[in-house]
């Protein structure tokens, strides 16, 4: 690389008791953080473990901690985040570390299930489609929350997740809010019961780290506030009784 402009990058290696390893990679005018990690893996150390798939900001699998902040690395340009010509790349926080930049996403997706963020059909006849006008408030609320790419950035950024490991987290609660606003769902009260259990939506401190870091500009804090309102109303009506 003599004569070529280079970029210094420190990458986390090993498990939870690992350490940063420094590399020098070619500095390009247009270069994403994922490009840098891929260069290291293909040219400097093939044992580096990291995760990616689509490379265009759709699949949500390449999230990492870049210079201290969780980001989707395929859509994060180095020029926007490199401090004094250096990058520090670590795995996502708040998730068990497998190795290098790869975390175990199992707790993250288990919580999606616990928050009941999935469709439960009603008992109506199957040949009868439920009309859902696009301008219906519930449809608008669901639309605002539905484009989550499951990257885990908000989960990594959330202080409450760091403080209590049973907290469902912004992504699962955001998904539950979208599901609750689906008027076709056959058990909407079941969603409110799920998000009102221990570790549920009422633990959110409204720090808004999730909204500040979400790469697709969703606002999970707003969704969680909606769940709080809906569950409190249900509580006052006695609908949350086991």
């Amino acid at each position: 690389m003599s004569g070529e402009k280079t970029l210094g990058v420190d990458i986390w290696r090993g498990g939870a008791d690992g350490r940063y390893q420094s590399f020098e990679v070619p500095a390009r005018e247009n270069q994403t953080v994922l490009d840098v990690v891929t260069y290291v893996q293909r040219h400097l150390d093939s044992a580096l473990a990291y995760r990616f798939a689509c490379r265009v900001g759709v699949c949500g699998s390449c999230a990492m901690t870049v210079n201290g902040r969780p980001r989707w690395t395929c859509r994060t340009h180095v020029s926007r985040v490199a401090k004094a010509g250096r990058l520090t790349i670590a795995p996502l926080q708040n998730l068990p570390l497998i190795r290098d930049l790869v975390t175990d996403m199992t707790p993250f997706f288990d919580k999606w299930q616990r928050a009941r963020g999935r469709f439960v059909p009603g008992e109506g006849p199957r040949d009868q489609l439920a009309p859902v006008p696009p301008d219906k408030p519930e449809r608008a609320a669901a639309s605002a929350a539905i484009e989550c790419i499951n990257c885990g950035v908000c989960y990594s950024a959330c202080d409450v997740v760091a403080w209590r490991d049973d907290y469902l987290g912004p992504a699962a609660l955001n998904r539950a809010w979208a599901a609750w606003n689906d008027v076709r769902d056959g058990d909407r009260t079941g969603i409110l019961k799920a998000v009102s259990a221990s570790g549920g939506c009422h633990n959110c401190h409204t720090h808004q780290s999730c909204a500040a870091h979400c790469p697709v500009s969703l606002n999970p804090t707003f969704s969680i506030a909606g769940l709080k309102r809906a569950s409190i109303k249900a509580k006052l009506k006695g609908e949350l009784a086991p």
């Binding site: 209590r164 509580k235 949350l240």
Partner: protein, 109 residues
Amino acid sequence: MTPLSYLLQRGTAMIMVPLIVTHLIVIVMAVQGGLSAEEILGRTRGSAAWAGFYALFVLAAAVHAGIGLQTIAREWFSLSDRAAAIAGHLFMLALIGLGARAVYAVVWA
């Protein structure tokens, strides 16, 4: 935090807003001509209105702080939900006891 404790904490916060404002205004007014125990007790002794005002204040503050400290105990000291609830309730009862004693002292003693 359960829906009930969430509701109680927000509800007690709403109750306390006018109480705190009134309390601060009374403090500012009361110290205008110097502060003395006689003046304070002259205003509060035998007053059902001040007894009710501060009894409500004590109750709201105790519930609010008990729930808040329960959350802190759970999140910062990694206590279980049950242990944090016990700690929060004990603190709430202590505040109610101390507050009730103070209200009794300035109104009836």
